[in-house]
């Protein structure tokens, strides 16, 4: 199995290859340049690992949640790559990939992942370090569905948990306990994907927008 993992739900545009004795990844930080960077990163990752596109057996994309335009770039890149190579494509919640890095830092107990949703909101979910492990590292278990909210609207006992993601950097007074994991790493997404697929999970690709499109229907406008 050789997994190509892609995530564009945070300001990291991140690509990784994992399996077959290979662990290679490439990441660029650019909150606006998703469509420019992803494909060159995929090519670079393959070249670094001396592998051909035809060697990839599975694609894993981050389902988000994340800012819409960037999120879609990663998902469409992954689904099209898989279609072109006639291999399966899977989707994993991007917050779960961040939680993998966070769990390694907290070691035990509950923590939070809160990423930048723009418009003064965060995408977030609550986690605990669960039973079992991921390739020897602590394994996170998600306790809540991913959601989008204003940070101040989260209960204080939730906000005060150790928090991964850009949330603490953006709202330091609201998330006082920052963890070092800021953006999704495709290497962690690949690891999670590999373990979940090994356990026989089915992982549908579905963009987690969590917000409806920002437009009023003509009927709504007439009522407003």
């Amino acid at each position: 199995m050789l997994i190509l993992a892609i995530d564009t739900s945070t300001s990291a545009i991140t690509v990784a290859l994992r399996g077959d004795g290979i662990a290679s990844s490439a990441t660029v930080l650019d909150a606006r340049g998703h469509s420019e960077h992803v494909a060159p990163l995929v090519r670079r990752c393959l070249e670094t690992a001396h592998r051909e596109p035809s060697d990839v057996t599975d694609v894993v994309v981050g389902n988000g949640p994340g800012p819409f335009t960037g999120l879609r770039v990663g998902i469409v890149t992954g689904t099209v790559f898989a279609h072109a190579r006639d291999i399966p494509v899977h989707g994993v919640c991007s917050l779960d990939a961040l939680a993998v890095d966070a769990a390694a830092q907290v070691g035990a107990g509950e923590f939070l992942v809160a990423t930048d949703a723009r418009r003064k909101e965060v995408y977030w979910a609550r986690y605990t370090v669960g039973d079992g492990d991921l390739a020897g590292a602590p394994r996170p278990r998600r306790l809540t569905d991913p959601a989008v909210d204003r940070p101040a609207d989260l209960p204080e006992d939730v906000r005060s948990l150790p928090t991964a993601g850009r949330g603490p950097a953006l709202y330091p007074e609201l998330f006082p306990h920052a963890l070092g994991a800021h953006d999704v790493q495709a290497a962690s997404l690949a690891l999670l994907g590999e373990v979940l697929l090994g356990e026989g999970e089915s992982l549908p690709v579905e963009p987690l927008y969590l917000r409806r499109p920002d437009a009023l229907t003509t009927a709504e406008r007439a009522r407003a």
Binding site: R72, V76, V80, A84, P207, P213
Partner: protein, 349 residues
Amino acid sequence: MSADQPLVLGLETSCDETGVGIVRGEELLVDAIASSVDEHARFGGVVPEVASRAHLEAMIPTIERATRQAGVRLDDLDAIAVTSGPGLAGTLMVGVAAAKSLAVALGKPLYGVNHLASHVAVDIVEHGPLPEPTLAMLVSGGHSSLLLVPDVTHDVRSLGSTIDDAAGEAFDKVARVLGLPFPGGPHIDRVAREGDRVAIDFPRGLTAGRDMDRHRFDFSFSGLKTAVSRWVQAREASGEPVPVADVAASFQEAVTDVLTRKAVLACREHGVEHLQIGGGVAANSRLRAMAQERCDAAGITLRVPRPGLCTDNGAMVAALGAQMVLKGRAPSDLSLPADSSMPVTLVQS
């Protein structure tokens, strides 16, 4: 690859149509389209985020349908082409990312091409090689341009464009005034058939006096739209019924009169013997008829692709991509951006 018959897949996502076309040389094999226009109708116009979500959902099924109907495998392709601009930033990005991924996964060259030049190039798969130079008039909900095209793969010059609304936008707005559904073009065309084209003398923007010096080949449709809505309001205020068919026919006559008059004038002044009309408004029956009459009178050959190829589609992108390959143009870089305001003079990015 066969050097004179490159097999090229074109992807178009600049607005609300997910288009995947496949061309072999100058022959169209398939033009697969998924449109989100019905989802936009309840918003009264295209909502970029709604369109972008629809592109993502439609991408694989549309690619799949195109290759199946054309009877080709993706591995057989010689090149991938994609609309890199102009258009809606968010929708363009879906297509550009998809095309790049195809290029990487298949190891094929990628061409990021201009949407407007593609509207011109599509006629090659309909009527054969494009005469050089050609004068092209592109009229749709997003653009109204007169272009001088010495070589569609690298030399496209702008003679003029709209200074306010696009022609198709005027159709949408007037349709709304008349209580007709979105998109307005086909409904106005249909209703106008029953109406009197000379019932109301609506204004012809930028066609007289100093305007013909400063804006010789430019268009303006917002004054016309305002004139129509004032006329309708006055009718309603006086308690008389609005003659919808006459208003539609007279409005349509004003638009097509200005468009064809300036297009023919541009051909004459630039010594061009071939006029091509493209874009969604080129499907308008009155525009096609009037353009034919005036071109015949002026000794100009008119080329208009069938209506399905005038609106946005993937075939036009594939057609231009194939020309790029045939003329030996270098592929685009894999880091090419989606450029929502790509100038018409930039054929390839």
